[in-house]
C-alpha cells in the first residue's frame, strides 16, 4: 500500500513539475466552461438549472485528455529504461500500475473539483437536482477510471508515446461511439449486447441520477480488465525482450 502511495506521489508531482497538469487543467476548464456556459446547447440555451451540458462535453474532453496523460506513463519508462530501476526496487508490477493509475485519477479528480464553482453558480440560478449533479460527477470518475486503464494498457504495450496515445484513442472510440452506432444498427439480443458495451448508455443513466449496479459493474470491469492487461504486458519482459 505504502509503495503505491509513494509512486502516486511521484507521478503527481511530475505532472505538476512539468507543464502537463497546468495545461490539462486550463484546457479542460476552458473547453468545458465554454461549452457549458457560452456556446452551443449551453445551460442558458436549455433554460434549465442542470449540469447536463457540462457532463456531456466533459465526456469528450476526458476522452482526449486521459490518453494524453497515460501515454507517457509506461511507454516512456520502458523507452528510457527507468522501468528496470523501478521494478528492481521493493515494488511489484501491480503496485507500479496501481500507483500510476491513482495518480491519473487524482489529477482528474482535481480537474473535476475545480468545476465545482459551476455547480455553485448554477444553484444560484435555479432549482438544481442535487442528486443528479453528484451522481454525474461520480459517473465521470467511473468513466475516467475506464479510460485511464485503457490508456495504461495502451502505454504498456509500446515504447512509443504517440503510438500509446493513438492506440488508447482507438480502443476508447469503440466504447464511446462505435458500439453505440452498432447498437443502433442491430436489433434483438445483438443490439442489446452492443448497447450494453457502449459507455454513453451507462454514463447517461448515471448522470441522470440513477446509480445502477449494472453501470457500476460495467465501468469497474473495464477498469479491471484494462489494468490486468497492462500488468500482463508489463510482466511480459519475462518471456521475450
Amino acid at each position: 500500500m505504502n509503495s503505491i502511495w509513494v509512486i502516486t506521489k511521484r507521478e503527481l508531482s511530475s505532472f505538476f513539475d512539468s507543464l502537463t497538469a497546468y495545461i490539462l487543467l486550463t484546457v479542460f476548464l476552458g473547453l468545458s466552461g465554454f461549452f457549458t456556459w457560452l456556446y452551443g446547447s449551453d445551460i442558458f440555451f436549455i433554460g434549465q438549472a442542470t449540469l447536463q451540458p457540462f457532463f456531456s462535453i466533459a465526456m469528450w474532453t476526458l476522452f482526449f485528455f486521459i490518453p494524453a496523460l497515460t501515454m507517457r506513463m509506461l511507454a516512456e519508462e520502458k523507452r528510457s529504461g527507468t522501468i528496470e530501476l523501478l521494478l528492481t526496487k521493493s515494488v511489484n508490477d501491480w503496485q507500479v500500475i496501481l500507483g500510476k493509475f491513482s495518480a491519473c485519477l487524482a489529477l482528474i479528480a482535481i480537474a473535476l473539483l475545480l468545476t465545482l464553482p459551476y455547480y455553485i453558480t448554477l444553484s444560484f440560478i435555479g432549482p438544481v437536482d442535487h442528486g443528479a449533479v453528484w451522481t454525474g460527477y461520480f459517473g465521470m470518475l467511473l468513466m475516467s477510471m475506464a479510460y485511464i486503464s485503457i490508456g495504461l494498457f495502451a502505454s504498456s504495450i509500446t515504447n512509443n508515446q504517440i503510438v500509446a496515445f493513438l492506440l488508447a484513442l482507438f480502443v476508447s472510440v469503440f466504447f464511446l461511439i462505435i458500439f453505440d452506432v452498432l447498437a443502433g444498427n442491430f436489433t434483438g439480443s445483438m443490439g442489446q449486447f452492443f448497447n450494453f458495451l457502449s459507455i454513453s448508455t451507462h454514463y447517461e443513466s448515471i448522470s441522470r441520477g440513477v446509480i445502477d449496479s449494472k453501470d457500476l459493474i460495467y465501468f469497474l470491469s473495464i477498469s479491471f480488465f484494462g489494468l490486468m492487461l497492462a500488468e500482463t504486458s508489463l510482466s511480459k519482459r519475462n518471456i521475450v525482450e
Binding site: 509513494v6 511530475s14 513539475d17 521494478l87 528492481t88 521493493s90
Partner: protein, 310 residues
C-alpha cells in the same frame, strides 16, 4: 549475504542468453563479471535483481529463492543498471528520497541516509539540480547513490565506472573495495584493469557459459600453464655455453636468447616447476652476475581474448 546461482538458463526465443550456469558468491566477496557484449552478464544480473524471471533454474539470495521471495530480496539488493537510467525531470534530492521511500528506509532515517550518500558519492555541489542537468559522471554518482541508499547487503553494479573521468574512476573503485569488505558485490565491466583493481574473484562468461572462474592469479596460471622468465646475465663469457648450461637445468624447458641483446634470455620452465632458484644457484656457481630476472605474466587481456574468441 551469499548469492547461489543454480543451473540458471534464460532463453530469448531460441537463443540461450544464459546457458545452465551455476556459481556462488560469498559474503564479503567482490565478484567481477567479464565477457564480450551479449555474453549474458546483464541478463544474469537482471535475473538476480528479480527484474526478469529465468527460463529455468533458481537463484538463492541469502537462502531465499527468487521465485518466491522477490520483495525481501529486492530490499537487500542495491542495483545500478546498465546505461544508468534515471528520471531526468526529478531533482537529485527528491529522487533519492523517492528511492529511499520505495526501499522501505524508515522515515526518520531517510534524511540522514540521503546526506550520507551525498557525501559518499560527492554530489554535494549538484544536489539541488535536476538529474537531467547533470553531466554523465554526476548521473553515474546519482545511480550509485540510489543503489546504496538503503544500505543493502548486496550490490549489483552493471558497468559502474562508465562515463567517469580517471579521478572519479579511482574514487569509485576505492569505494567499491571499501564496500566489498562487508557487502557482497557483483560488478560487470569491459575494463580489464578495473577487475584486477577491485575484484577478489573474476568470472568470464561467453555465449551464456562460464569459461573461467577464479582470482586473477589463478586465471593467469591456468592460461599460461608454465612459468616464463626473462633473465639477463652479464660477465658470463661465451653465450652458447651459458645457453647449454641453462638448458641443462632440470626445470628448464626452453631457452630462447633475445636477438639484439647478447646477455638476455627468455626461459620457459617445465609445467608446474619454477626455475628461479636453479638459475640463481647456477649463476652463483659459475660466478655469473645475474642482473635481471623478471617473470613474464600473461596479460588479462590475452586470457580474455583467448577464452572468448572461438
Amino acid at each position: 549475504m551469499s548469492i547461489v546461482v543454480e543451473n540458471l538458463t534464460k532463453k530469448y526465443g531460441t537463443q540461450r542468453a544464459v546457458d545452465n550456469i551455476s556459481f556462488e558468491v560469498k559474503t564479503g566477496e567482490v565478484l567481477g563479471f567479464l565477457g564480450p557484449n551479449g555474453a549474458g552478464k546483464t541478463t544474469t544480473m537482471k535475473i538476480i535483481t528479480c527484474f526478469m524471471a529465468p527460463s529455468d533454474g533458481d537463484i538463492k539470495v541469502g537462502g531465499l529463492s527468487i521465485h518466491e521471495h522477490q520483495d525481501e530480496i529486492k530490499k537487500k539488493i542495491g542495483y545500478l543498471p546498465e546505461n544508468n537510467p534515471l528520471y531526468y525531470d526529478m531533482l537529485v534530492l527528491d529522487y533519492l528520497e523517492f528511492v529511499a521511500n520505495l526501499q522501505g528506509v524508515p522515515k526518520e532515517k531517510i534524511q540522514k541516509r540521503i546526506a550520507e550518500m551525498v557525501v559518499m558519492t560527492g554530489l554535494n555541489v549538484e544536489k539541488h539540480k535536476k538529474i537531467g542537468e547533470l553531466s554523465k559522471g554526476y548521473r553515474q554518482r546519482v545511480g550509485l547513490a540510489q543503489a546504496m541508499i538503503h544500505d543493502p547487503e548486496i550490490l549489483i553494479l552493471d558497468e559502474p565506472t562508465t562515463g567517469l573521468d580517471p579521478n572519479q574512476i579511482v574514487e569509485i573503485r576505492k569505494l567499491i573495495k571499501e564496500l566489498g569488505k562487508e557487502k557482497t558485490v557483483v560488478l560487470s565491466t569491459h575494463i580489464l584493469p578495473e577487475v584486477e583493481a577491485t575484484c577478489d574473484r573474476i568470472m568470464i562468461i561467453n555465449n551464456g557459459k562460464i569459461v573461467a572462474d577464479g582470482t586473477s592469479d589463478m586465471l593467469r596460471k591456468q592460461a599460461q600453464g608454465q612459468e616464463i622468465l626473462r633473465v639477463q646475465i652479464s660477465e658470463a663469457g661465451d653465450r652458447d655455453s651459458v645457453i647449454s648450461s641453462l638448458s641443462g637445468l632440470e626445470s628448464v624447458a626452453l631457452v630462447d636468447p633475445v636477438e639484439d641483446n647478447n646477455n638476455t634470455f627468455i626461459i620457459n620452465s617445465n609445467e608446474n616447476l619454477s626455475s628461479r632458484k636453479p638459475i640463481f644457484n647456477l649463476c652463483v656457481l659459475n660466478n655469473w652476475v645475474l642482473t635481471e630476472m623478471t617473470p613474464i605474466e600473461t596479460k588479462l587481456e590475452d586470457i580474455f581474448r583467448e577464452l572468448t574468441t572461438n
